[in-house]
């Protein structure tokens, strides 16, 4: 089944204070779709002035939003989810055109997960409370949650709507107002989402400013009016965000990627059953979202006793990956998100070849007859060793580096031999191995006999250079609020010190 190319307006303004607002200096930049490298529309090229308008609008909105009851806030989050769900297909098509990913992913993963994120936070804020302690017979301590105020959020281009939902939903559920800057590669789908939810959203609660990092992201991160900054992206900008945050002494949440190991123990091949089939797919998930996932299982570690027969089955599955028109629901892999990413990935494929890694699949661009000018790359597998650059650097493309290990100890050593620690996968039928490996791996999310599941009620975040803080799960609410302690004395007598 094929979907029609979406229609966009000629240009889009910023969404500030509940209204569409033209950029102060009147500049717009062209939004390009990686599907055909054609111009899809124009969006605001904002700068410091627009950011200030958005921060001011956020504080104006916070006057009332910060005081709403959880009942009211929860209702608004549910209405956002309902409005998105009613427009799921339209938003999914726009997301595919903006980012390049296959429509079957946006319809079945990106949008449903984003919608559920709003529903999840709508529900958890209704069921939690602060705490009260009797410290002694006359003294009561109350721990009360209060929102921070206006928060800044800078999101990536690999899951534009889902990453927006991950950041926006907990922030507004906690009573904050948001100023969000989308990535410049994917600035459009979020604007369509705002069109859909504008009617159910109080003014100033969510403000979107588009623009380039140095012109718009930097002034947002530096703005003294924000009380927190959340960022997903790469390490150098992550360091800059922390540096800027130090100027205003505000907290940061950083998610900076990884080089996630996916470990396959020999017991997976004890039977040729449904679970073994699941494990094969578990390896091939490196190609999910064209490999543009912070937790892409881009290092497969396979026990050497099963390497040959396992890889034979894996390679057959990789060969069956269907590339083509991203708007066709049978297409499994779409376009890489932008031309510079495309060039970077092809360059890393060359590095792998130069380093002497053995090319087992792919290894080149994919000529897409439907869109000859788009950014398409074949799913690629190299065999090598963990010291090679293709095993250590995040490629952010459909490139898998495979190596073998002798035993559990060596598997763990290779898995942890990375500067990152975001995701990991472990596949085994042995519960003892499973426990040793999942606890031994230094990463914030370890998938045990599964991979690439992102439920709202499970925390997500990094160890080591993969970042600071967690996303998803209700614990995220505490990243977006103060704890106020009210210490009350019922004793009418002086201390007696003075």
């Amino acid at each position: 089944m094929g979907f029609e190319k979406p229609k966009f307006k000629e240009k889009y303004e910023n969404f500030i204070g509940g209204k569409w607002v033209a950029p102060v200096d009147g500049n717009y930049f062209e939004a390009i779709s990686p599907i055909d490298n054609g111009v899809m529309t124009k969006v605001a090229q904002s700068n410091k002035k627009d950011v200030q308008l958005a921060v001011d609008a956020g504080w104006a909105g916070f006057e009332s939003w910060g005081k709403t009851s959880v009942t009211e806030r929860s209702a608004v989050l549910n209405k956002i989810a309902d409005a998105m769900e009613a427009n799921l297909e339209m938003l999914a098509i726009a997301e595919t055109w903006d980012n390049g990913k296959a429509i079957r992913e946006t319809i079945n993963a990106d949008l449903p997960l984003a919608i559920d994120h709003f529903r999840y936070f709508a529900s958890v804020i209704r069921s939690e409370s602060g705490s009260i302690s009797d410290l002694d017979s006359n003294t009561v301590s109350q721990e009360i949650h209060e929102p921070l105020g206006v928060v800044g959020q800078i999101i990536p281009w690999n899951f534009p709507l889902l990453m927006a939902a991950w950041k926006i939903a907990p922030a507004i559920a906690a009573g904050n107002c948001v100023v969000l800057k989308p990535a410049e590669q994917t600035p459009v789908s979020i604007l369509l989402m705002m069109e859909v939810i504008a009617d159910v959203l109080p003014a100033g609660v969510i403000n979107i400013v588009n623009g380039f990092g140095p012109e718009c992201g930097k002034p947002l991160a530096l703005n003294p009016g924000i009380r927190k900054i959340g960022f997903t992206g790469e390490t150098t900008t992550g360091k800059l965000i922390m540096q800027y945050a130090s100027e205003n002494i505000i907290p940061v949440t950083l998610e900076l990627g990884g080089k996630s190991p996916n470990i396959f123990m020999e017991s997976i091949m004890e039977k040729d059953d449904a679970f073994f089939d699941k494990a094969i797919e578990g390896l091939v998930l490196f190609a999910f979202n064209q490999g543009e996932v912070c937790t892409c299982p881009s290092r497969a570690l396979i026990q050497e006793s099963i390497y040959e027969p396992f890889m034979k089955r894996v390679l057959a599955r990789v060969e069956a990956i269907k590339m083509g028109d991203p708007l066709d629901s049978s297409t499994m892999m779409g376009a890489q998100a932008s031309t510079d990413q495309y060039e970077k990935i092809l360059h890393y494929i060359n590095i792998g070849k130069e380093e002497g890694a053995e090319l087992l699949a792919g290894g080149d661009k994919f000529e897409n007859d439907a869109y000859p000018n788009g950014c398409y790359i074949q799913p690629t597998i190299f065999k090598g060793n963990n010291k090679m650059r293709i095993f250590q650097e995040e490629i952010f493309g459909p490139v898998l580096s495979v190596t073998t290990f002798k035993d559990l100890d060596e598997a763990l050593e290779i898995a942890n031999d990375t500067i990152y620690g975001l995701g990991a996968g472990v596949w085994t039928r042995d519960v003892h191995e499973m426990q040793t490996l999942t606890r031994g791996i230094q990463a914030g999310r370890v998938w045990a006999n599964c991979y690439h599941a992102y439920p709202a009620h499970a925390s997500f975040g990094g160890y080591k250079l993969s970042g600071i803080g967690r996303e998803t799960h209700m614990m995220m609410l505490n990243n977006y609020r103060h704890t106020k302690n009210i210490l009350t004395s019922y004793n009418t007598h002086a201390l007696g010190f003075f």
Binding site: E234, G257, E354
Partner: protein
């Protein structure tokens, strides 16, 4: 003569000149890692990015210093970098992005002869 670890193309030099003129200041580079636009060089005005005390200076390109974290240097040290420019839209705070181009690091392995003459770099 010792082997340089990082060099630049003519296109890169021209872009550096253009950015220097636009910003009216000297520039520096820091190689990024991690997701999204990671594994790419970032260009900043000197003084904007606080270079880490343990960061490794690989050299200079067209008069601008080029740094990376020691952890990244550890696995990149066997390869020579050439900084080039490609069309495309990156995110990140690198200052060439509004011009619709991105700096990119092209790597190649050193020859044996080059390896013997590599510039010494101290890493903490």
């Amino acid at each position: 003569m010792s082997t340089k670890r990082v060099e630049s193309t003519q296109k890169t030099n021209e872009l550096i000149d253009k950015l220097r003129e636009k910003h009216g200041t000297e520039l520096m580079f820091h190689q990024s890692g991690g997701c999204c636009d990671g594994s790419a060089p970032m260009c900043f005005e000197v003084g904007d990015f606080m270079v880490g005390s343990r960061d490794v200076k690989l050299g200079e390109i067209h008069g601008s210093e080029f740094f990376m974290s020691p952890e990244q240097f550890d696995y990149i040290k066997g390869t020579h970098l050439t900084i080039d420019v490609v069309e495309g839209r990156g995110s990140s705070f690198s200052i060439e992005i509004p011009l619709g181009v991105r700096f990119i690091a092209i790597s190649r392995l050193y020859t044996n002869e080059e390896l013997e003459n590599l510039e010494e770099i101290e890493v903490e």
